[in-house]
């Protein structure tokens, strides 16, 4: 689905990413792990078009593409759910889901049609705990907000959803809710990339795991080829005992 080859990104004298390769296969959940400062967020923002890349190539469905801004990535079908969710508390769920892409009828907002589509998307993701889709986002729980942000991302025929730390601020029940939601995105045929520190969540939901270490891609492989110990080792040292580039078999 998305293939990145030799991506470099620096900010002034600071090299944030060195020759990063990354493959995000379709219909699978890819987890991007790494310690603080490893470059996870920078890589995400490069894909989302917030940062432009210095060198390297991005292939989307086999074709080389150039992503210069958020609009470019949206056009390809890439949507990002940021850690802070970017929801306006004072607006209701429908208004937030359509923010910036409102539907009009004879110059005025077409609330009925927007509300219907928002309700369809939410029910297709089985987000059923909200009392009313006309309630302001300020009155939602953390998990519900995350669900709204995800629903907002998948409304636009998107093919790849990037999620930055989706469970970081959530309690146990809410985390469960969001992990299930990620599973449902995969079942709907979307590719998902989740940035996470939380290895419990990663192993629960990911089909593939990629680990960044100090701006380099330390390893990327199927989740079943890792165990907790090996991922931690890649995250903290960039390799297994600094000897092998291959992941250890679980066992």
């Amino acid at each position: 689905m998305l293939k990145i080859r030799g991506l470099d990104k620096h900010f002034g004298p600071v090299q944030a990413l060195y020759h990063v390769d990354l493959d995000i296969p379709p219909r699978q959940v890819t987890a991007l792990c790494g310690d603080n400062g490893a470059g996870k967020t920078v890589l995400t923002k490069c894909i989302a078009g917030i940062y432009s890349i210095d060198h390297g190539e991005i292939f989307w469905e086999g074709r080389p593409v150039h992503i210069h801004n958020a609009r470019d990535s949206a056009r390809l079908g890439i949507e990002t759910v940021y850690q802070d969710l970017a929801l306006a508390d004072n607006l209701d769920i429908v208004q937030n889901m359509f923010l910036g892409r409102e539907r009009l009828r004879s110059g005025l907002l077409d609330e009925d049609s927007m509300e219907r589509s928002a309700a369809e998307t939410l029910s297709s993701l089985r987000v059923t705990t909200v009392k009313s889709i006309r309630q302001p986002v300020a009155s939602l729980s953390g998990g519900q907000r995350q669900s709204v942000a995800v629903a907002k991302a998948v409304m636009w025929n998107s093919k790849l959803v990037l999620m930055d730390e989706p469970t970081a601020a959530l309690g146990v029940v809410q985390t469960r809710m969001v992990l299930d939601l990620i599973g449902r995105l995969r079942d709907k045929g979307l590719a998902v990339m989740v940035i996470s520190h939380n290895l419990n969540d990663v192993f629960e939901v990911a089909d593939n795991i990629a680990v960044l270490y100090l701006g380099r891609m330390a390893v990327q492989d199927k989740a079943t080829n890792f165990d907790r110990q090996s991922v931690v080792e890649y995250m903290t040292t960039g390799g297994l005992g600094r000897s092998s580039g291959r992941p250890a078999k679980e066992g």
């Binding site: 970017a86 923010l99 892409r101 089985r126 009155s139």
Partner: protein, 449 residues
């Protein structure tokens, strides 16, 4: 596939249990119109919301009743509720109402515009000067356009400084206040009017501007006009609500739609009825003053703009979370600059009404106080100083409260010292109401997460 399904059900059940555990809090957090399916539920939700400090327009109405009762009792000869004084009260309030609707554009963004009193005064003074038969003698439409254009340009400059250079709106518009105050005094001095260009004289243009406030509509036409407005508005509410009910969208119960329409009809009947009583002392004087439909027109236009267009939606989004708005692809600078232009434009209309009320423009114009009245009116009506919340209707309701106090003090012939003190206290009270209601809702959100 089966496993996540089951898990989802469990999650949903757990979440449902959590919300069921705190039904009181959940009801209080939500506007009742959102969750209520019947009138009874709606009323219960509303009561819960009032207890939680999120009360909508109810406190304004209660404050209004208290003010009216007090002033009726203490006003000399109980003149407060006489038709003449009530119409006078509408007229005085109209300026504050329109100015408060102007201020709403800045307040929704979480900004403030202190300059609009004198910017509007400049615009009105330009209009009054241009229509003077002794000098330029412009036709009134051109003169009004010129005055409003001045306001829009002034607003554009302030808005550009605030949004492009990231200057605080408080300081920029404070500077604008002083600049506009000086310009206003300069504009007054043009022509042979000794700083008091007025609206008396034989000229259709002068008459037209004078009539904005003092002209009346024939009683029969008033009734017909009111009936048309109520029918149109009521029909719109009824058909859009019932269409939404039929297609299963969030909509108030039918009884509530009817109550809303009934309330609008009652207000229209009361207002037109009062205005159509003979309020003249020596001659017959009756009919709805022009200013009432003017205020309603501004209210309708800005309610549609803020509530039903993309522009309005973006304004609220920026007021609520500028970063979210930016990521949604909204051009923040353009929307915010336009808000300051609309703010000044509306202020131009307000001060034109003021000029009509005063029968001309002079340095007696209390434009500085009127800005504070306007901010207080918007906040009393329910607009938040912190941005993201506010409607043009809030300005109208709050303007009526301020106007009622102002008018009462005037009847009691309170000295200026006392008027200043009361104005200051009212402003303070408005901000306290805003802060307390915000804290009420904020503490609610903490318990939710």
């Amino acid at each position: 596939m089966a496993d996540p399904l089951k898990r989802a059900e469990i999650t949903d059940n757990v979440a449902a249990d959590l919300t069921a555990a705190a039904p009181e809090a959940a009801v209080a957090e939500l506007p009742p119109e959102v969750v209520a399916q019947s009138l009874g539920e709606y009323v219960r939700g509303y009561v819960a919301r009032i207890r939680a400090g999120e009360s909508g327009v109810l406190p304004v109405v209660m404050a209004m009743v208290a003010i009216v009762v007090v002033f009726e009792v203490i006003s000399p000869n109980n003149v407060y509720l006489s038709p003449g004084n009530l119409v006078n009260l509408f007229q005085q309030s109209a300026v504050i109402m329109v100015l408060a609707m102007a201020e709403a554009f800045a307040l929704v963004l979480g900004e403030i515009d202190l300059s609009i009193g004198f910017v509007g005064a400049c615009g009105a003074a330009i209009t009054v000067q241009l229509i003077q038969p002794a000098t330029t003698n412009w036709p009134w439409p051109l003169a009004v356009l010129a005055g409003l254009l001045f306001c829009v340009v002034f607003g554009a400059i302030q808005g550009t400084l605030i949004t492009r250079l990231h200057l605080p709106s408080f300081i920029v518009t404070l500077a604008g206040y002083l600049v506009a105050n000086g310009l206003f005094l300069k504009i007054l001095l043009f022509g042979p009017f000794s700083g008091y260009p007025n609206l008396t004289g034989q000229s259709d243009n002068l008459h037209f501007i004078y009539n904005l406030m003092w002209g009346t509509i024939d009683p029969i036409v008033s009734w017909i006009g009111a009936a048309v407005v109520v029918a149109a508005l009521g029909g719109f509410i009824w058909f859009s609500d019932s269409r939404r009910r039929k297609s299963g969208l969030v909509a108030p119960p039918a009884s509530l739609s009817l109550i809303k329409i009934g309330l609008i009809a009652v207000v229209a009947i009361v207002v037109v009825g009062i205005c159509n009583l003979n309020r003249g002392v020596l001659i017959v004087q009756e009919g709805v003053p022009w200013v009432i439909p003017i205020v309603i027109a501004v209210l309708a236009a800005w309610t549609v703009l803020l509530g039903r267009t993309k522009y309005g939606r973006y304004l609220y989004a920026i007021g609520g979370n500028p970063e979210a708005a930016r990521r949604a692809g909204i051009n923040l600078s353009v929307v915010r600059t336009a808000a300051f232009m609309l703010c000044s434009f509306t202020a131009g209309i307000a001060l034109l009404l003021y000029a009509s009320y005063l029968n001309g423009m002079s340095n007696n114009v209390q434009a500085g106080y009127y800005v504070l009245y306007a901010v207080a009116a918007a906040v009393i009506g329910g607009t938040s100083l912190m941005g993201g919340r506010g409607k043009p209707l809030h300005g109208v309701l709050g303007g009526l409260v301020i106007g009622a106090i102002y008018n009462g003090m005037y009847l009691l012939a309170l000295s200026f010292e006392w008027q200043y003190i009361v104005t200051g206290l009212v402003l303070l009270a408005a901000i306290i109401i805003d802060a307390v209601s915000r804290r009420g809702s904020a503490s609610g959100s903490v318990t939710r997460i």
